[in-house]
């Protein structure tokens, strides 16, 4: 197994060596979206707790907003995880394989991921259509749910596209191009 420096382990000298890629603008937009969502989630929950316990006046519908932010946060993070090949992968056997086989394997793995993600996106989109047709809204604030689920589906498609690009890169470079290199529980353990 190979090990990349884990994100979230508080090593500025290591994270600082990965400057934002100038050539990949959409990713920066996603990063800002995810960062803003997470920060907003933290502040919203915190302020809600303080208002509830200290002033006995919780924010109306903060649960629902948190939930929606959480959903988008996860799916906005997926393209970034895929782009950096940070999905937990067991690659000890793969590394022993001859380069040719490794390349073929990498292409299939990326295409497999893309196919699975397209399936997921399709399921989410169907659900969004159903919500939209039924006019489903959240309980308290009466916000429509469908657009959030649509956004989740679109972000999943974006992730699938990244995997297709990675498959293309694997095709172009012998040995299968950039290898998935994170089986370190990336900042969770």
């Amino acid at each position: 197994m190979t090990h990349s420096p884990a994100p979230g382990d508080g090593r500025p000298e290591l994270t600082a060596t990965q400057p934002a890629q100038k050539t990949w603008r959409p990713e920066q937009a996603l990063e800002m979206l995810a960062a803003a969502l997470l920060f907003a989630m933290m502040v919203l929950t915190f302020v809600d707790v303080v208002l509830r316990y200290v002033f006995n006046a919780p924010i109306r519908g903060s649960f629902e907003v948190s939930e929606a932010m959480m959903a988008v946060l996860i799916f906005a993070g997926l393209p970034m995880v895929s782009r950096k090949s940070e999905h937990i992968t067991i690659d000890s056997l793969v590394r022993l394989a001859p380069p040719r086989l490794r390349q073929v394997g990498a292409i299939f793995v990326q295409l497999g991921c893309a196919a699975a993600l397209i399936g997921m996106a399709w399921l989410l989109w169907l659900r969004a259509m159903r919500f939209s047709a039924a006019g489903d809204v959240t309980q308290t604030l009466k916000l429509p749910i469908a657009p959030v689920v649509q956004l989740m589906a679109l972000l999943t498609v974006a992730t699938a596209i990244i995997h297709i690009v990675l498959a293309w890169q694997a095709l172009r470079t012998p040995e299968g191009g950039p290898r998935a290199s994170s089986d370190d529980g990336g900042g969770i353990l």
């Binding site: 990063e31 997470l38 933290m42 809600d48 996860i74 000890s92 394997g105 989410l124």
Partner: protein, 431 residues
């Protein structure tokens, strides 16, 4: 049983072929369920799992605790923690290594990640130990093993994941980790004592700190104590839920990092994006594991396991010991998070069926993960140290960590033999 075993086999095969574990679990779980139950139920359940895992208020506890840990790491409180611990026990034999472990325990009380704890402490504790002539083996061993306290002493992201998978109360889980955490700290310190008793030159004494300075050093860590007391105290006391506690913790850690001028606009975005990526990666696995567990639960495997135990009249304790032994062995070579996510859904019903406390089993799971993190050849904390301290040879790392692995196995045995260590506090607070 056959379907489940075939599924497990297919999953392992795909994973070994290089498919990310999240996808391997999800794909096999989906097709498995389709074969066992039909296409429509499989499609419906995959869609529902995905949607509900996303839209979950309870699950927002995960990114918030991850964020708290990342802010805390960035705030760099490790220096103060180490100095405070050193002021009290630095003049003992092996005192700096022991201080490292105590400081790790302190850091673990506000950070829920083992890797982050080890990485943060390495930057402070290692140079000090080198300066005092500590052997590389002892220095790295104490940092690597001390780091694992991060996931046993609450808050702990692994505990949150276990609690979410098994529907155990997160607060009770956090309460359960406290005494085992203290036990672990003492045992790791004993391992240092044993090593320096055998080879005094490997860990010389530090300087004795006079009492006024000790008090001053203690004042440097008030923030850590405050954050722990508010977040954990609030969750233990039932003042607020784990999610609320996590948001307070994250916000507190943010204010901390801000006050210590550890945050610029860029590093703030970096911390947030890092946390978002970790969250997305984790939820990918969580969704995959849930789809897979859903499939396994529709096969006869859970019942077959129970029957198997009944048929051979295995003693329940023997089953637990076997499970832990397998975990420890697997953990030496496997990535621990995926090991847990894969096996807990299958084993948990059996453990409960045998009449064991789910919270106690959760602590055992966390402890075997800890052992896996420092046991050669594939231990995450060892890899972190190898990245941070490239001049220390891998063999030295392995040698240094061995006594600590032994201490951890002794701890596991104690926790199995005396469940009360894990269950006393949660029973007191939550029953």
């Amino acid at each position: 049983m056959t379907e489940a075993l075939l599924g497990l086999g297919a999953m392992m095969l795909l994973a070994l072929a290089g498919l990310p574990i999240a996808f391997a679990m999800g794909v096999v779980g989906f097709f498995g369920l389709a074969l066992v139950r039909g296409w429509n139920p499989a499609l419906a359940s995959a869609g529902t799992l995905m949607y509900e895992t996303g839209f979950s208020y309870t699950l927002s506890v995960v990114p918030l605790f991850i964020l708290m840990g990342n802010f805390v790491s960035r705030a760099g409180l490790s220096h103060e923690l180490f100095r405070a611990a050193y002021a009290f026990i630095g003049h003992w034999r092996g005192g700096l290594a022991m201080s490292t472990i105590v400081a790790c325990a302190g850091f673990g009380s506000i950070c829920g990640s083992s890797i982050a704890t080890a990485a943060t402490m390495a930057r402070v504790a290692y140079p000090s130990m080198r300066q005092f002539g500590y052997s590389d083996a002892l220095a790295t061993g104490s940092i690597a093993s001390g780091g694992t306290l991060g996931i046993l002493i609450p808050p702990s992201v692994v505990m949150v994941i276990y609690a979410l998978m098994t529907e155990v109360n997160i607060g009770a889980m956090f309460a359960a980790g406290l005494l085992p955490g203290i036990l672990a700290t003492l045992l790791l310190m004993s391992a240092v004592a044993w090593q320096t008793w055998r080879d005094p030159a490997s860990g010389p004494r530090g300087e004795r700190t006079p009492w006024p300075d000790r008090m001053r050093a203690l004042r440097g860590v008030w923030g850590v104590i405050l954050l722990f007391v508010i977040v954990m105290g609030g969750i233990y006391g039932g003042v607020f839920t784990a999610t609320e506690g996590a948001s307070i913790g994250a916000f507190g850690a943010f204010v901390f990092a801000l006050a210590r001028r550890a945050l610029t606009w860029r590093t703030l975005v970096e911390v947030l994006v890092e946390s978002a990526r970790t969250t997305a990666m984790l939820f990918g696995i969580l969704i995959g594991a849930l789809i897979f567990a859903n499939f396994v639960n529709f096969t006869s495997m859970p019942d077959d396991l129970k029957n198997f135990v009944a048929q051979f009249q295995l003693h329940p304790m023997a089953v637990i010991i076997a499970i832990c032994a397998i975990y420890v062995l697997l953990g030496t070579a496997m990535e621990e998070l995926s090991m847990i996510l894969l096996t807990v859904p299958v084993l948990f019903p059996l453990v409960v069926h045998l009449g064991f406390d789910p919270i106690w089993f959760g602590i055992l799971v966390v402890v075997v993960v800890e052992i896996g993190l420092i046991s050669p050849p594939v231990g995450m904390n060892l890899f972190v140290l190898r990245t941070l301290l490239p001049h220390v040879s891998t063999m030295t790392l392995y040698r240094g960590v061995t006594p600590f692995v032994v201490a951890d196995v002794i701890r596991l045995a104690l926790l199995i033999a005396f469940p009360v260590i894990s269950t006393w506090l949660p029973n007191l607070l939550f029953k």
